[in-house]
Symmetry: C2
Subunit: 162 residues, 2 copies
Amino acid sequence: ARPRVGYFYVGKPMGEVIADQLRKMKVKDYKSVPVVVSEGTSVYDAIVTMFLEDVGTLFVVRDQAVLAGVVSRKDLLKVAIGAQDVREVPVGLAMTRMPNIIVVTPEENVYEAATKLIDYQIDALPVVRVMDAHNKQLEVVGRFTKTTIARIFVELGSGRDI
Amino acid sequence: ARPRVGYFYVGKPMGEVIADQLRKMKVKDYKSVPVVVSEGTSVYDAIVTMFLEDVGTLFVVRDQAVLAGVVSRKDLLKVAIGAQDVREVPVGLAMTRMPNIIVVTPEENVYEAATKLIDYQIDALPVVRVMDAHNKQLEVVGRFTKTTIARIFVELGSGRDI
């Protein structure tokens, strides 16, 4: 008998079936819009931007889109309970700076992105495109976070065909 | 011929196969240890506890384990940039309070837990056991967060048999 459309034989253990699926899903298809500030932005204004945009991580850029740093709620909280005035301290002093930033490219898969989030214990990855390989300049084109993973997880669990 | 051990026929679309799998995975098998403080803890000490324990959400309890509130980095950041002294303000003034807390039980599945995180736009759920249905008292027995989801995601993507 011919198999019914949409039904198929899977000659693999369940673990491999799911792993294959996650490796087919690309970061570019799930990333969100990045929220960026410039290096001179005060810690206070960065916190306000986080609240207004409802994100947990900001990307710090030069020339509109060149990645310079990443700043998390945790980084800002550290400054906020310190002795300095959050309106005076620039976000550039609180951020993790290039080249110590873990990034992901649009062509990587969501499993690779999730692995980076777990291995480096971070909440968000800037999605980047290499602008200038020689100077290692990276253009920020998106945001991939633990929330993105949770959203994909819910989509997978909803049972919609993929 | 007998099927090889570990290999099987799946008479379902891929989407359903994955959805079934996620519904089999229980919160109790993936939850982390909860990090708790009492209601009188200062916002400053709560922030320090967050850093020391490396978590993004604290559960506020009475009598060691009875859930009274939940406080996130975002809640604490709000107080930290306000006019009040973080060493004077108790965490009870910054937290989300019962009965407005979204919880999960150990017997719920990880898909249900992920759905709550996304639908209510929160980072963490207290895993609770009902102590007293009449008074709606809940005992905190664990923590289920977006990081938990990301960890499960990496485990699924590693292709280990499940």
